[in-house]
């Protein structure tokens, strides 16, 4: 237990870094908020003027906004679902004593080292391409009509790409959690008559709860702002079917040159992220204590 004395010292010592971090966050945030109240279009330089909440009004009433909101949530949720469930299964598999365990583990981790733009391009051109892609070839092999993934099921395709990138991360963390489970606990459960499934449900899963929470929290933060994968594959299309909030803000700012509108969108995205974070914390924060 720290005494009052050491605690006040600790505060003092931490102050500079906290201050730096605070500035780091507050300056861009304040700028964005400031811009979001201006009529600021790059095509009309020097014409900035205060417009009140007009930017917000436009952004929030834009039908694209709700589609983008939905896409963002679908994308995040879909990827989380795949990576958590897939991660648990892979971790269970990798925990078994199999031949060439070390190499298999490295292979599983590998996708995480590939840059998002690169992996998205690889997926787009080598897997999803309706003429030359592997999937198309496979479909043809079975005599089926090849699917034009990015045109017919664009959002799902992007979910696959992003999930593929994040699966190693969740697998790695969940595997570590799995390996930290006390061997005697598993044996005790075995002696208590628990079969494989019961052991998984009653012993292994609760043990991994904390790690799963961490995976969900960290991934959510990154998944709410997926961008590169969308840019290089679908450009938010067809139409706006794969436009998420991040991409919408980008489109607003750099395709329509509307800095004010984009800033308002950015602020909306920040608020949304906070709402999601709040509910996430509430929902699973319980797992993190004790």
């Amino acid at each position: 237990m720290a005494t009052t004395h050491t605690r006040s010292h600790a505060r003092l010592m931490m102050a500079p870094s906290v201050l730096l971090l605070f500035l780091w966050m507050i300056v861009p945030l304040a700028m964005t908020i400031y811009f979001s109240f201006l009529r600021y279009n790059l095509l009309m330089p020097g014409m900035e003027e205060y417009t009140g909440f007009l930017n917000y009004q436009f952004f929030l009433t834009d039908p694209a906004f709700f589609t983008a909101l939905g896409n963002t949530l679908l994308l995040t949720g879909g990827v989380l679902l795949i990576t958590v469930i897939g991660g648990i299964l892979l971790a269970l598999l990798l925990d078994q004593p199999i031949f060439g365990q070390g190499i298999v583990r490295i292979l599983v981790i590998a996708p995480f080292f590939v840059m998002p733009t690169v992996s998205a391009l690889v997926w787009k051109n080598m897997f999803f391409n309706p003429v030359n892609g592997i999937f198309a070839w496979l479909f043809k092999l079975f005599g089926a009509q090849p699917l034009d993934w990015l045109a017919q099921i664009p959002l799902l395709s992007i979910i696959f790409i992003v999930a593929w990138q994040w699966l190693p991360f969740s697998t790695l963390i969940l595997l570590t959690a799995l390996q930290s489970l006390d061997e005697e606990q598993k044996e005790a459960a075995e002696m208590d008559g628990a079969g494989f499934l019961s052991r998984f449900i009653y012993i292994v899963l609760p043990h991994m709860a904390r790690a799963i929470t961490v995976v969900i929290l960290i991934q959510t933060i990154f998944l709410l702002s997926v961008f590169a994968e969308i840019l290089v594959t679908t450009n938010g299309g067809p139409g706006i079917q794969t436009t998420n909030l991040t991409y919408l803000v980008y489109a607003q700012a750099l395709l329509q040159f509307d800095i004010g509108g984009a800033s308002a969108g950015g602020i909306v995205a920040v608020i949304l992220a906070n709402i999601v974070a709040f509910f996430l914390m509430r929902m699973i924060g319980k797992n993190l204590e004790g």
């Binding site: 005697e184 606990q185 075995e190 002696m191 208590d192 009653y202």
Partner: protein, 334 residues
Amino acid sequence: MGSITLENVSKVFGEAVIIPKLDLEINEGEFVVFVGPSGCGKSTLLRLIAGLEDVSGGRIVIDGTDATELPPAKRRLAMVFQSYALYPHMSVRKNIAFPLKMAGASQAEIDKKVSEAARVLNLTDYLERKPRQLSGGQRQRVAIGRAIVRQPSAFLFDEPLSNLDAALRVNMRLEISELHQQLKTTMIYVTHDQVEAMTMADKIVVLNRGNIEQVGSPLELYRNPRNLFVAGFIGSPKMNLITGPTAEGYGATTIGVRPEHVVLSQTEGDWKGTVTVAEHLGSDTFLHVDVPGIGLLNARIGGEMPLRHGDTVYLTPQRDRVHRFNAEGMAIKA
């Protein structure tokens, strides 16, 4: 219910033979203690019986049926682990109920058995707590509770008290002994603490490098150790082992004299020596005496004895309590 027979059981890990062929008979209702030095294969033997480890050869018969190939859950044995192995995210109640739940018992039956076990083990007030909110002794009792609700045909304990402090250990020792009196179920108990072995066991199995050195009641082992290893292992403080001309005088290669079987005198006796250390415990006095030509001997004198470092004393072994061993280390029958 509760007889266990090991026939020619052996265990090999890769190249290492941990347990060469071993036979052992455990009768119904017995309290059997496996003792031996660290690494001698006590835990391995227990895990073989539990089914957590496959035998490399031989047969394990439980209650008359061959259990060699049975999975742990089917052997009707319950085990208490050294680390307790409680399920950390479950309350005490759920921990104890877990085996019943796995066996598909009804909720009413579970409630009844859990509260019964909690009453026996003094855990009623802690049922809603999580394991981490319990003391070491309480955790130990939860682990035992989880074992008794299944009404197994035998309990297996692997050094259950080694994580507890000395006072609590004495308490839990008594509690486990009492539990055995109440339940009359076969218990196999692994320890390397020979005091635990002596106080709790109906039958002690002394293991050394995977071999059984001797099986017998505590006093049998104390009175008639079959060989040097058992002689040195059972009894505290350890038996004095003397070689050389002194032993030859008794017609043996080695003789053993327990510290409590040495008569002390300040005027006359067989062996004259100097006290190097005197430990005054009040109830007993332990003397370490350096005897020229023999070496360091331990003597245990009942009560208080005002001796100090440097004092000269005479030690005489009680004739009928001298253990004689031949060149192979086996006891020579009188």
